[in-house]
């Protein structure tokens, strides 16, 4: 077990000082809703990294007789504008929660004053039909569905279903928001780490993700298999109450 404070937990030192690990049970296959702060990681010459909250993410998972449903709201702050995407996925009851249907609603707002930005909002949808992924906006685009695939946000619900087992890997293709193809993804279990945060020593389990079109990402799960932190090169999601205020 590694007791040093890993980069993902040290980069936001100020924020982490007040962070409390979640308590209570968590059932990955039951109904649940988790909120994450979305942070920008901004390194500076000399190795110091600054961070700032740049939005939030809410993932809600619900089992359903017709297949699990995952509802997503993500707010992304890009300078003077915020784009909020609401997504609803109907999934297959498999390990990757392979999407079968989805809808995206994308809305733009200026930040000060907080008013809609005209002409940028979109509604999009997608489905799997006859072995093809069909994305529909102004017109339909079709592509052959890979054997194993999922959408990026769904990883927050896929990870909790994976065993903490050395050597366990998962190979798949990723479709960002169900649309942009990022092939050759690999998730691998990378062991347990003890992390001291907010004066508490907690044991977490790490998965590493490599693949085309994404920067390497580490997923940190608590003993109940709840994703508590996910960090790539420049983006970090942290489970926490502050996230609620970050999403409209």
């Amino acid at each position: 077990m590694n007791a040093t404070l890993p980069r993902d937990w040290s980069v936001l030192a100020d924020r982490m000082a007040g962070w409390l690990p979640p308590e209570g049970p968590f059932a990955p296959a039951g109904a649940w809703k988790l909120s994450y702060e979305r942070h920008a990681l901004v390194p500076e010459p000399g190795g110091k990294t600054a961070g700032g909250q740049a939005g939030g993410l809410v993932i809600a998972y619900a089992p359903d007789a017709s297949g699990p449903r995952v509802h997503v709201t993500e707010a992304v702050v890009t300078g003077a504008t915020t784009v909020t995407t609401t997504a609803a996925y109907q999934c297959a009851a498999d390990q990757l929660l392979t999407p079968t249907r989805w809808d995206l609603d994308i809305r733009w707002e200026s930040r000060m004053p907080r008013v809609p930005v005209a002409g940028l909002d979109q509604k999009r949808s997608g489905r799997v039909e006859g072995g093809e992924i069909v994305c529909a906006a102004a017109k339909e685009r079709r592509r052959t569905a890979p054997r194993n695939w999922t959408a990026d946000w769904l990883l927050f619900a896929v990870l909790p279903r994976l065993p903490f087992a050395a050597g366990a890997t998962l190979d798949f293709d990723l479709f960002e928001e169900g649309e942009l193809h990022k092939p050759d993804q690999k998730l691998a279990y990378a062991g347990a780490h003890a992390v001291e945060v907010g004066g508490k020593n907690i044991q977490l389990h790490v998965f590493e993700q490599f693949g085309r079109g994404v920067t390497p990402t580490r997923w940190w799960l608590d003993a109940q298999h709840r994703v508590v932190l996910a960090a790539s090169e420049r983006r970090l999601y942290l489970l926490g109450p502050r996230a609620k205020g970050a999403t409209p």
Binding site: P43, V76, T78, V83, G119, L120, A137, P216
Partner: protein
């Protein structure tokens, strides 16, 4: 894909400015009033080296969207940044004037000449809806004064590029075919996030915190070198103490960032097609500068080796321009963006353009008389003269000059500047550089803009 190869004979013995007169004769008359000018979609990535596309043979990256654009249009292999660092390169695009004229000779220091028009103002005043999303970074000018800004983005590609592409998607899907022409500019940040990667890993081996994947790219053949370099380049090596695995890990990450930029480009191209606008839109994709990519043991930019100075340049307009063509003969500069876009739009560019319109080349008129050399500069001191055969690099006040035979030594490993047999070439290229600089309207530099970083301010004053 059709490929044009270099043939020195037939080139004019003129530089960019000398050839301009000839190009003016070649330039087509402005579009007839009843003829609607094309929409223009100008996309740029940040820090993307010319070779960092799978279409150009790079096996370490997957860029289906940029490949698609290359297959639909013409790509120039000898395409160079006018000044391989962010602010100067961008200011050269948007003004068509050399850095020493537009004032932006380095990042975030001296501002753009206040009265010098930029393409946003120029197109907006001539009937175009001039729109901007993403990174701008032209020192001293707020892009809201030149464009309608749909989203400014942030300084981090991983956080920003997808949103910028989404904004562009929304914009394009609401445009009507045949409506008011738009000039949509999209500044994607990736793969510039590699700079942050460098900051985070500087001289600190244990920070390589993941087990790197097995398929990391090999080190480039010109990673190591023993040549003397101008001092401003030599000191860029000081902070790099990586072992081979760390260098390869850097490269692996860099290519993932290029793939992120490609995803953003793909979103926009899809939206353009879905909106039925592709046939009436000229698309241009380039990058402000490249990246060291471990060549010569360097990362980043602000030097004049090909890895930093050479950038992709692709232009496509379905049904109007040749498709699937790679031009390996003609030298192209970031200074060519402004005259090219203006000619396609059907109006004259701002005065004193230092570049040339690429329209004749894009139309397949390969016999068009063309320039014999281009000049790029960096950091107010370094200058490069590139001909089809040679590259000559000279820094003001630095005794080390460099001359490379770019055909025999594309990795720029053998400095021929002091070889007796090459003294005539050095003299010739130095003469061309001096002649080029005499044509410029140099802007007297006043004090640089202050920054919050006192160390930076001091450095700038010294520069």
């Amino acid at each position: 894909m059709t490929t044009l190869t270099t043939n020195r004979r037939g080139f004019l013995k003129t530089g960019g400015l000398g050839a301009l007169g000839l190009m003016l004769a070649e330039r087509r008359a402005p579009a007839a009033p009843e003829q609607r000018p094309p929409n223009i979609l100008f996309m740029h990535t940040d820090q993307q080296h010319w070779e960092a596309l799978s279409a150009f043979g790079c096996a370490h990256v997957r860029t289906p969207a940029m490949d698609r654009l290359a297959a639909a249009g013409t790509s120039f292999s000898l395409s160079y940044s006018a000044n391989p660092v962010c602010c100067p390169a961008r200011t050269c695009w948007y003004t068509g004037r050399a850095s020493q004229e537009n004032g932006v000779i380095m990042n975030d220091a001296w501002p753009i000449a206040p009265d010098m028009p930029d393409l946003g103002q120029w197109f907006g005043a001539r009937g175009y809806d001039a729109v901007y999303g993403g990174k701008w970074h032209v020192t001293g000018r707020d892009f809201k004064d030149s464009f309608r800004v749909i989203t400014p983005g942030t300084g981090i590609g991983e956080l920003s590029d997808a949103a910028v592409a989404r904004a562009a998607e929304g914009f394009l899907r609401t445009r009507k075919s045949g409506g008011k022409p738009f000039f949509l500019n999209l500044g994607f940040l990736q793969p510039h996030d590699c700079c942050y990667w460098v900051f985070e890993h500087q001289g600190d081996a244990p920070r390589t915190r993941l087990r790197p994947p097995p398929e990391m790219p090999p080190l480039p053949f010109n990673h190591g070198h023993a040549q003397a370099e101008p001092a401003m380049v030599a000191r860029r090596h000081e902070s790099k103490q990586w072992n081979a695995e760390q260098w390869r890990w850097y490269l692996w990450n860099y290519y993932r960032m290029v793939e992120m930029a490609d995803a953003a480009v793909g979103r926009v191209l899809d939206a353009l097609e879905d909106a039925g606008l592709a046939q009436e839109t000229l698309v241009v994709l380039t990058a402000d500068h490249g990246d060291g990519l471990a060549r010569h043991g360097l990362t980043s930019k602000m030097f004049l080796y090909d890895e930093a100075a050479r950038v992709p340049f692709i232009a496509a307009w379905p049904g109007q321009l040749q498709a699937g063509r790679r031009d390996e003969r003609h030298l192209v500069s970031g200074l060519d963006v402004a005259p090219t876009l203006c000619e396609f739009a059907g109006f004259a560019p701002p005065p004193k353009m230092r570049g040339l319109s690429l329209r004749p080349l894009l139309a397949g008129r390969d016999a068009t008389p063309w320039r014999e050399f281009i000049v790029s500069d960096t950091h107010g001191a370094g200058r490069m003269v590139r001909t089809p055969e040679y590259k000559y690099i000279a820094y003001r006040g630095d005794p080390v000059t460099q001359l490379f035979d770019m055909r025999a030594d594309p990795g720029e490993l053998q400095n021929l500047a002091t070889a007796a047999a090459q003294s005539g070439v050095v003299r010739d290229l130095a003469g061309r550089l001096a002649a080029w600089e005499q044509t410029l309207d140099l802007l007297p530099l006043k004090d640089p803009l202050p920054t919050a970083n006192p160390r930076k301010n001091k450095k700038r004053k010294q520069a």
